[in-house]
């Protein structure tokens, strides 16, 4: 209440201030006048009477202020004055203010960003009503997936959930009449939206009553975002019939704007009833053993605890275990939060975010410590002024309040700038799609909580670093200033003693050097990665992804269609060669299979000679992909189902299975279905599953001998990719207008693989900048402090003829020794850290002259940047001015 009262009086006083001030003034003057009249009547001359009256009255300004305080005007007035004064002081030394504001802006901005992400993923649950009671059953023996019959049993037999919904994630070809494209689809049970308690934005949702058996509900509910991006927010879209994998579907509704499905990060384009699953995939809806349903979820009934729900689920599980021992051998459950797929994604995200939050907190603390020493240096500069004010009767409280006002002002401005920056960054993050092929989104738009946290952090850090010079001010002795001696505030002297501040700065410099080293290592590694030998050519390659299943091609209709596509694309002018593969190295998936020695007859997994990745390719694939054959030949179009099976293997496969490449040529191996396959060629090694993997055994099989529905067309051409993309698209449309295709350059297709290394490099870079900023401020603060404390000494030295180099040595020697020592320690640690980075960024090695040189130059630059202002000040010391002043 007191706070409220004082705030109210502050507000009203703002308006009344001027008038009250005038009135006080008038009254005090009237007093002096009356007294002077009396004195004059007593015989004093007029002028003398007035002088005496003023003297008798006492300290006019002080009394006026006390009077104001007595009237309760003090609070607002003083604060306003303090702010004005602080602004004026900041204006006088803009460099200091800018450094301080930028430091805080970065530190608070970092905290705001990390907190916003933490808030979006962990603190703020899914965007559905009553999400706190939303749980999904998790099978202890595996994960949250279920088979469709098991889901139905769980749904119908449990007594703990209000209702139990389920969904599965799939892709489908969407044809709206113009441009068929791939879309990400959530296949949801009829009760899905009702279970979540959602209301449609437009039209209606589908319900349990729409389900009448397999393929009975051809309905689409669009997400709000997809409706906006693909249907231009057209409300007449309700009732329109579109084709999904060639089957007609009716759009019945649009979901609410804030709903992006029940899996964070992963935003589907639209929802279809799960009973239509056979139109999307080959799973048997009745097979109890096929656990293809991605997740089940629902709200716990009011009053049911998670423990009770688990017991309930387990009892349902026990019944199912007994009834279907083969398909449901172990059916006991725990409950998991659906948003982050329980602890599977949730735990690493939580751990990572908590660590990041701690780190951001540390950065803010370090920033406060540095700003604290900057403030101490400032207060030392102003010690004469402070002493003088104390001598003139100002209270220490008043001076401290001034200092705090300045600190808080800087903190608030810094906080505001930092928050603005972080909001921009968060907006960008929210629309960012890290891997273009996947519907991954991070909805991290800041809310009120984020703003509040930023404000609190700003205030807290202002109070924190504002408190550093308090002791200094409290110890200032006014008599010293009056006597004209130097004002020595008693603080840890800069002798040989190692102070806390030294250690703090040393640690900061070392950490900064580690981060700078690591980020240069990572950047170098990332740059080298793209010049790596992948075992295929990145340049002049376009990857065309199609799924014949989505266009209704099945079985025997597939191979002729694939051949037609290859021939059509090869006929485009400027195209050198076109190959086809079911999957490509460093693509979406890497199918693998056990391989057995030719002599093995018992083809049990335990007897396998090795596991090898398996790509099914057309004869021209090697030429189109730019994969060199070391020996042997490529496939031919004659090698089909009727011919003996053949394979091309890579060198690692040859070495691992056959001992040497020479032995491999012409030799045979077996695959789990028992087929004998002869090696007819050997291809160079490459990268297949990840950029950092060791050499992997790989076999290439002719697509005609083992057909596949999914198909990547690898197009080699030196034509401009954009034009070529258009040509490819129109060519394929001429063959089949309903075929969804996805065209990207081979470089772009590596995005998913470069995501980790890029993120690591960016994070290290950001941390490196933060570390550098902290170090600069720290060095700057320390050097400034040491210079201002020894300004008189420098003046005397200059007067006695000291050389510039000697002065610099005295002014910055200690700081730069700290810098050198910290950098050395940091560099050594950074070199060790380089090994860790190599796990994420291939080709990262710290033993690289560019890295070592880069770190040295960076640290030196940081030192120069931070040291130049204090150094200039030390050199510019004017001995005459100093002597005159004292």
């Amino acid at each position: 209440m007191r706070l409220f009262d004082s705030l109210r009086s502050f507000a009203s006083n703002l308006f009344r201030r001027a008038e009250t001030d005038r009135e006080i003034e008038e009254e005090l003057r009237s007093h002096i006048q009356l007294r002077a009249d009396d004195l004059e009547r007593g015989g004093l001359p007029h002028a003398e009477a007035e002088r005496r009256a003023r003297i008798e009255f006492g300290g006019y300004q002080r009394l006026k202020e006390e009077s104001r305080e007595a009237l309760g005007v003090q609070f607002g007035e003083g604060l306003l004055q303090d702010i004005r004064f602080a602004l004026r002081r900041m204006g006088k030394k803009p460099g200091f203010a800018i450094v301080a504001v930028l430091t805080l802006a970065l530190a608070i901005g970092a905290n705001a960003v990390v907190f916003a992400v933490l808030n979006a993923f962990i603190l703020r649950p899914l965007n559905v009503p009553q999400s706190e009671s939303l749980y999904g059953p998790w099978r202890l023996s595996s994960d949250m997936s279920e088979s469709y019959p098991d889901y139905l049993d769980l749904r119908d037999r449990n007594h703990s959930f209000e209702s139990l919904a389920a969904f599965n994630v799939t892709q489908a070809g969407l044809d709206t009449g113009s441009d068929p494209s791939r879309a990400w689809v959530d296949e949801a049970t009829g009760n899905y939206f009702d279970t979540l308690g959602l209301k449609p934005y437009l039209g209606r949702f589908f319900h349990a009553s729409d389900e009448h058996g397999t393929n009975s509900a051809p309905f689409i509910v669009l997400t709000y975002d997809f409706w906006r991006s693909h249907f231009q927010s057209d409300p007449s879209v309700i009732g329109r019939v579109v084709r999904l994998n060639k089957f007609p579907y009716t759009i019945v509704g649009v979901g609410p704007p804030e709903f992006h499905g029940t899996l964070m990060f992963f935003n589907p384009d639209f929802f279809v009833p799960i009973v239509n699953h056979p139109q999307f995939d080959t799973n048997d809806m009745n097979a109890r053993g096929d656990r293809w349903v991605f997740m089940t979820l629902g709200h716990l009934k009011a009053g049911v605890t998670p423990a009770q729900a688990i017991a309930d689920l387990n009892s349902v599980g026990a019944v199912l275990e007994k009834a279907y021992p083969k398909d449901d051998p172990k059916m006991s459950f725990k409950l998991a939060r659906p948003g982050l797929y329980g602890d599977y994604i949730g735990r690493p995200v939580r751990t990572f975010m908590t660590a990041l939050m701690l780190l951001a907190g540390l950065i803010l603390l370090a920033a406060c410590a540095n700003l604290g020493s900057l403030f101490a240096a400032r207060a030392a500069d102003r010690s004469r002024e402070i002493a003088l004010r104390l001598a003139l009767g100002s209270s220490r409280k008043r001076i401290l309040r001034g200092l705090f006002a300045e600190a808080l002002l800087i903190a608030l401005i810094g906080g505001a700038v930092g928050l603005a920056g972080s909001v921009a960054l968060l907006r960008a993050l929210s629309v960012w799609q890290p891997i273009s092929r996947w519907p991954l989104h991070m909805s991290v738009n800041p809310d009120a909580k984020v703003y509040a946290v930023a404000l609190l952090l700003a205030l807290a850090s202002g109070l924190l670093f504002g408190a550093v010079p308090v002791r200094q001010v409290l110890r200032t002795d006014p008599y010293e200033a009056v006597k004209g001696g130097s004002v020595e505030t008693k603080r840890g002297r800069f002798g040989l003693r190692v102070t806390f501040q030294d250690v703090l700065l040393l640690v900061q410099i070392a950490i900064c050097a580690v981060l700078v080293t690591s980020s240069i290592v990572a950047v170098r590694g990332l740059a080298n990665t793209l010049h790596n030998n992948f075992g295929f050519e990145l340049k002049n390659t376009i990857l065309v992804e199609t799924d014949l299943n989505m266009a209704g091609y099945l079985g025997d209709k597939v191979p002729p269609m694939q051949k037609r596509m290859i021939d059509a694309l090869a006929a485009i002018p400027g195209v050198d060669s076109v190959g086809l593969a079911d999957q490509v190295p460093l693509g979406d998936a890497q199918p693998d299979s056990n391989v057995f020695a030719d002599s093995t007859t018992d083809l049990r997994p335990a007897n396998a000679a090795s596991d090898a990745m398996m790509f099914k390719v057309s004869p021209e694939y090697f030429q189109a992909a730019g994969t060199a054959l070391v020996s042997g030949r490529a496939f031919t179009w004659q090698e089909d189902k009727d011919k003996p099976r053949v394979a091309i293997v890579n060198r690692q496969f040859a070495r691992k299975i056959f001992g040497s490449e020479a032995k491999a040529m012409g030799a045979y191996f077996k695959i789990p279905d028992g087929a004998r396959i002869q090696v007819v060629g050997i291809a160079e090694d490459g990268k297949y599953g990840s950029l950092t993997e060791d050499p992997q055994p790989v076999m290439f099989l002719p697509i005609l001998q083992s057909a596949s529905n999914s198909a990547y067309l690898v197009v080699r051409s030196s034509r401009d990719p954009e034009q070529l993309t258009l040509a490819i698209r129109s060519t394929l449309r001429n063959i089949d207008a309903g075929l969804p295709v996805y065209i990207q350059t081979r470089y772009k297709a590596l995005d998913a693989f470069l995501f980790g290394p890029r993120m690591a490099t960016i994070s290290l870079g950001v941390l490196g900048v933060m570390g550098a900023m902290l170090s600069v401020v720290g060095i700057f603060g320390m050097a400034s402090y040491s210079v201002s404390k020894r300004l008189r000494e420098f003046g005397i030295r200059i007067a006695l003829g000291a050389q510039k180099s000697e002065l610099l040595q005295a002014a910055l020697g200690r700081t730069f020794r700290l810098l050198a020592f910290g950098s050395a320690v940091g560099l050594l640690l950074g070199l060790a850290a380089g090994k860790v980075i190599a796990f994420i960024v291939s080709q990262a090695t710290p033993w690289d002259p560019v890295v070592l040189g880069g770190v040295l130059v960076t640290m030196l630059l940081l030192g120069l940047l931070a040291g130049c202002v204090p150094a200039r000040r030390a050199l510019a010391t004017d001995p005459l001015a100093l002597l005159r002043e004292d």
Partner: protein
Amino acid sequence: MTTQAQLLPGTLDLLILRAVSLGPLHGYGVLLRIEQISGGALLIEQGALYPGLFRLLRQGLLKAEWGVSENNRRAKFYELTATGKRRLREETESWNRLSTAIASALAPQPEEI
């Protein structure tokens, strides 16, 4: 100045209330009245009167109005409010009790004589 005494902390308010209780006064008048009723024995820093006056004003013990002084100068006149009168009565009583107690404590005791 041996006849003048320093003011005890907290007694200025009581003196002001007492001075004003005899009729409306401006600040300077309050000062003169205190000098007069204390027989010139109490020394007040002139300006220090005003924070005291304003404190009482803010507590609602005094009310003030601008007027004209006897020699035609604009001045602010103070007088007691009802609360002020009550407060003066209470304070006077408690002061008397206190001073009697102190006086008797300090008075020469029979055994000392």
